[in-house]
């Protein structure tokens, strides 16, 4: 017994180092291995509060470009409003409030990151505002990411610029789809992988939008344009560099998409699989 204590006292510095190293390494490994792991995120009281304070200062520097964006979007919305053809021809079911398929929550990004290979954003809206895990986040130009974790007042977003992110996407003109990933290199481009070789009509400049298979985003939300096409040596599928519409290094207000039918859909699919 004495010897054990002696050993512990003699090597206490080393043991403390190993303990701390063990804790931090396990946190590192956890954050890399599991999706939605129980690791510490910036959606908590301390860091969320600090980031929202810093953001209130930051906002003043980009007021001009934000104003321009809002003006552009206003103009677009006005043009839709003025060009409405006949309100009688609208789909009836969508106009009844209780049957709306999607709701939109407006929020603001208070922390943006794009310099590492696994990037997360922090939003100033949380479970108090109805934000839940796995909701889609977009802005007026295109997609931004997917809600990863929420706290009462803040939420973190798995950015499209994250090597863990996978989003179903398709070509606007041909319905061929693939999955959208990021190779961790350039913040302006993401990769559309697993596009079948049959989709040979694709050209540089074609528009990529979100696909119908996605349970997170509604169909036909803009992502980007085809920039470069090459054939993957290993799989013989096309891999396509997609130039994002969004400048991910400069984001302000975003919209969180709440799909009211998502749970019903997932439940149905789960039961179908169980019955097989």
């Amino acid at each position: 017994m004495q010897q054990i204590f002696n050993f512990i006292f003699k090597n206490s510095y080393r043991l403390l180092f190993l303990l701390l190293l063990g804790i931090s390494l396990s946190l590192t490994v956890q954050s890399h291995s599991y999706h939605k792991s129980k690791v510490i995120t910036s959606a908590n009281f301390l860091t969320g509060g600090v980031y929202s304070q810093l953001n209130s200062i930051d906002e003043y520097f980009s007021l001009r470009s934000r104003n321009e964006e809002l003006a552009l979007e206003n103009a677009r919305l006005k043009s839709i409003l003025f060009n409405q053809v006949d309100s009688l021809n609208l789909d009836k079911i969508d106009t009844v409030p209780g049957f709306k398929r999607t709701n939109v929550i407006v929020s603001k990004i208070i922390h943006n990151s794009y310099s590492s290979t696994e990037n997360y954003l922090t939003l100033h809206a949380g479970s108090n505002n109805g934000v839940k895990t796995d909701m889609g986040v977009i802005n007026d130009l295109g997609i931004v990411g997917i809600i990863e974790k929420t706290s009462p007042r803040y939420a973190t977003v798995l950015s499209v610029l994250n090597t863990k992110s996978r989003i179903n996407a398709k070509f606007k003109k041909s319905n061929h789809f693939g999955s959208l990933t990021w190779n961790g290199k350039n913040t302006g481009f993401v990769q559309l992988t697993d596009v079948p070789r049959l989709a040979s009509t694709i050209r540089k400049g074609d528009t990529i939008v979100t696909g119908a298979e996605s349970r997170i985003f509604p169909e036909n939300i803009n992502i980007g344009t085809v920039y470069k096409i090459y054939i993957d040596d290993k799989t013989n599928y096309y891999t396509i560099d997609v130039k994002l519409f969004n400048d991910m290094t400069n984001l302000g207000h975003v919209y969180i998409i709440k799909d009211n039918e998502r749970e019903e859909l997932l439940q149905l699919e789960k039961e179908t699989k169980k019955n097989e």
């Binding site: 190293l21 794009y114 310099s115």
Partner: protein, 168 residues
């Protein structure tokens, strides 16, 4: 003793705020970020409590991880640097460094510069290696380490000169 403790706590908070509010937002060319918060570990008194150093660098790293959403990457790099610090001292200032009155917080001599440079390189290499976590990114890790090291070194030296304690 008490004033040294106070200086260290003040330095801890000041560097953390500076890192989060200013340097994390730099993103020069999209991916080059300086991390001068490690200056806390470098400027910790040479003969100070080593348990205190280890524990405070862990705390510093974990708080950085909270702000960067990065798991435990900063914490691992920070405590590794804290553990390797005596070796680097020995390398830069000679074997009997403990009996000299070393002050990092002073004019830059070749010894001091080499100490800061080695520390920054090893910290950044561990940091970026763990952040990428895949051997396929090895070349990018090296590139990032190189550029960020230059950036951090520059800012560390500027900060040291800026806050040099006034003489007499």
């Amino acid at each position: 003793m008490n004033s040294a403790l106070f200086t260290n706590i003040a330095r801890f908070i000041f560097l953390l705020i500076l890192q989060v509010a200013v340097f994390n937002k730099m993103d020069f060319l999209g991916y080059i970020n300086p991390y001068p918060y490690i200056l806390f570990i470098l400027l910790y008194p040479v003969n100070g409590n080593k348990y205190g150093l280890l524990f405070s660098s862990f705390l510093l790293g974990i708080i950085m991880d909270l702000f960067c959403n990065s798991g435990g990457v900063h914490a691992t790099a920070a405590i590794s640097l804290a553990a390797m610090r005596p070796t680097f001292f020995k390398f830069s200032f000679g074997v009997s460094y403990e009996y000299q009155t070393i002050k990092i917080n002073d004019k830059i001599t070749p010894e001091r510069f080499s100490f800061i440079a080695i520390s920054v390189v090893s910290h950044h290499f561990i940091l970026f290696l763990l952040e990428a976590f895949r051997m396929t990114y090895f070349f990018e890790v090296l590139l990032r380490t190189l550029f960020s090291t230059l950036f951090t070194l520059l800012i560390c030296i500027l900060l040291i000169y800026l806050f040099k304690p006034t003489r007499r």
